[in-house]
Subunit: 131 residues, 2 copies
């Protein structure tokens, strides 16, 4: 049985307002303003719980710490190799690629994880003159 906690609510609210996919550490720093005694462990525990409940998403980049997304709806991400930003992409779910994968494969494909990388608008060379 899951009981309400103000800390968890605050963590969820924080993520709902952010679109930059913060790390657990960043969440911690923010929630600390309202709950000066909150511990990083509580943040991690609640992030895991919220993810299990399907209320947020965890993003593993392969470099650096995991990041979290308050938008639980399925969508894809872009990693800027220059500045490290993680951005949301406006594109439809590519469900067809699951069939593609399964066609030559003996098991059951239930889904996929995909992200794109490259340079974000701010890091593109031509953009440099605009700053």
């Amino acid at each position: 049985m899951i009981k309400y906690s103000r800390q968890r609510e605050r963590i969820k609210d924080f993520l709902a307002d952010r679109y930059d996919h913060p790390t657990a550490e960043t969440v911690y720093m923010s929630v600390k303003k309202d709950f000066p005694n909150i511990s990083l462990g509580t943040v991690y525990r609640n992030l895991s719980l919220l993810e299990e409940l399907g209320e947020i998403q965890k993003i593993s980049t392969g470099i650096g710490p995991d990041r979290f997304d308050g938008n639980a709806a399925p969508h894809y991400h872009f990693f800027c190799t220059e500045c490290g930003a993680v951005l949301d992409l406006k594109m439809e779910s590519m469900e067809h690629i699951d069939q593609l994968a399964e066609s030559q494969f003996d098991g059951e494909v239930q889904g996929h994880v995909a992200y794109f990388f490259g340079k974000c608008a701010n890091c593109l060379p031509e953009k440099k003159f605009k700053n």
Copy 2:
């Protein structure tokens, strides 16, 4: 300037013979047979180096340690959610999805990382009777 080392050669050879995408720890255990004094740090350093040189691939699953693939040619992977196996998929490169991502996006998409998950043949319910 990169100098030859027998340890690195052995690490590369080991990966070339394996198709199960071992972890650094597994590589370490194997190379230890020929180089009893090799340290885990050496394994990690060489795996990173070989990856930078484009001779092997690093696979970050998001759960557990990174895994390594002696096959540097681009291909996709499948993660079995049941037994944790990481398998190679025989499917063509989905380069078209990069355009798809870029169409609604302001930056430059240079590539993507994608993997599939589900149940491998050995873990499918109907397969259980065959064992």
